[in-house]
């Protein structure tokens, strides 16, 4: 089965036949998580760094923000039988418009948010493809944790 994660959304599965994808990561970030033993995998596609921007929206849709979405990604993976020490984690996206600096650089702020939240929880990214000015698409196979990333115009590659 193919599951598509839209912007500000998250999907996990423990069905080995499932492929989870998310398209068009601009400044947004797609985080993939996978436990090879439990065969649990998921993708979060969040858009903005901090839920304090709009706590009501964050309550309604926690996947919109890094700080409310990332904990849920892990919690749900644990609920499906995933274990933190076996988990492979990768992050993609966080791109920026040329010359987008400081606070306007939402892509870079998303990248920092991911690093901050993960390091606070002693989690290290196994792979990252962040920044630049590209548009990325991400795909994860729940069965074996294979991950493919496609940069528009450059074709798909497995990481």
């Amino acid at each position: 089965m193919n599951i598509v994660v839209t912007v500000s959304d998250m999907k996990l599965s423990n069905d080995p036949e499932t492929l989870i994808s998310t398209y068009s990561l601009g400044s947004c970030i797609g985080i993939s998580i996978h436990d090879p033993v439990a065969q649990v995998g998921g993708i979060l596609h969040f858009m903005l760094p901090e839920s304090k921007l709009d706590p009501i929206k964050a309550e309604k849709n926690p996947y919109m923000f890094a700080d409310t979405g990332i904990p849920r990604l892990f919690d749900e993976a644990y609920d499906l039988g995933g274990k933190k020490e076996r988990m492979k984690i990768a992050a993609f996206g966080g791109a920026q418009i040329l010359g987008q600096k400081g606070l306007f650089n939402i892509g870079e702020r998303n990248n920092s948010a991911v690093r901050k939240i993960l390091s606070k929880n002693n989690i290290v990214l196994d792979y990252e493809d962040l920044g630049g000015s590209f548009n990325r698409t991400l795909k994860l196979a729940v069965k074996n944790g294979r991950v493919w990333v496609k940069v528009s115009g450059k074709g798909e590659k497995e990481i």
């Binding site: 839209t6 947004c28 921007l53 919109m64 040329l98 939402i106 528009s152």
Partner: protein, 282 residues
Amino acid sequence: MSDITEIIKGIEKLRPIPQVAHKIMSIAQDPETSSSELSDVVVYDQALTAGLLRMCNCAYFGLSKTIDSVHHAVVYLGMDQVVDLVLMISGAENLKKRQDGYDLREGELWRNSVSSALIARELAEKKGSKNNHLIFTAALLKDIGKVVLNQYVAGSSEKINTLVSMQGLSFIEAEKEVIGIDHAELGAMVAEEWNFAPKMVKVIRNHHLSEGLSNIDFETSIVFLADTLCMMMGIGVGVDGLAYRFHSEVLEHLNITERDMQEIMAGFAGKIKQVEDFINLS
């Protein structure tokens, strides 16, 4: 460098914007106009009426009643909204097809066009603009030049990508450098050919602010910002990615902070499912 005259000839291959769209625009811009004048023009075109009613009844508008006539549509959605819908239906044909040169699947360019137009309209309203239809339509049609330039970008993609990745050019600068003309210039020519107002031609020509900031006007700023937000959200983005120049001065000019920017993105993402339905119905 390609033969520019040959490229420009490609404009003729586009399906021209229907006459009714021009009539609607001029009716909308006339403060003396009545809603029945608008209805009269629309009902005359059966396909347009059918398309309009289909869209009025989608979840995006969340109306509790079924809209079954153009008159009803104007009553429940208001004249401004109906005008925008008519302009959308008129502009859809050319922008829906896949554009391989830009690595855009079928419907992707259209998704970007409609999303930009909806965001631009919202921004324009917030800022109390009187030119909402022009802004909506300019945002909707801003990338029509890509449809003409698509095959030439396909043929030069390696050179363009090298200039972007190695020399730090923006995608539109690289188009101009390699092909000799860029999609914004071509888009302006299309708008001229279709007899749009000079203001609209100007906004489309400068929607990436490639002519600089010295003469920047309100309408162009709004369309530029809406486009920027769509690129950041990855809506209908292709090979050009986010490789366009950002100008924070535009936000200052519009009195929009980075927080406002995030709020607009959050607001748009919050209704993305309804927007998708809306786009798929159009």
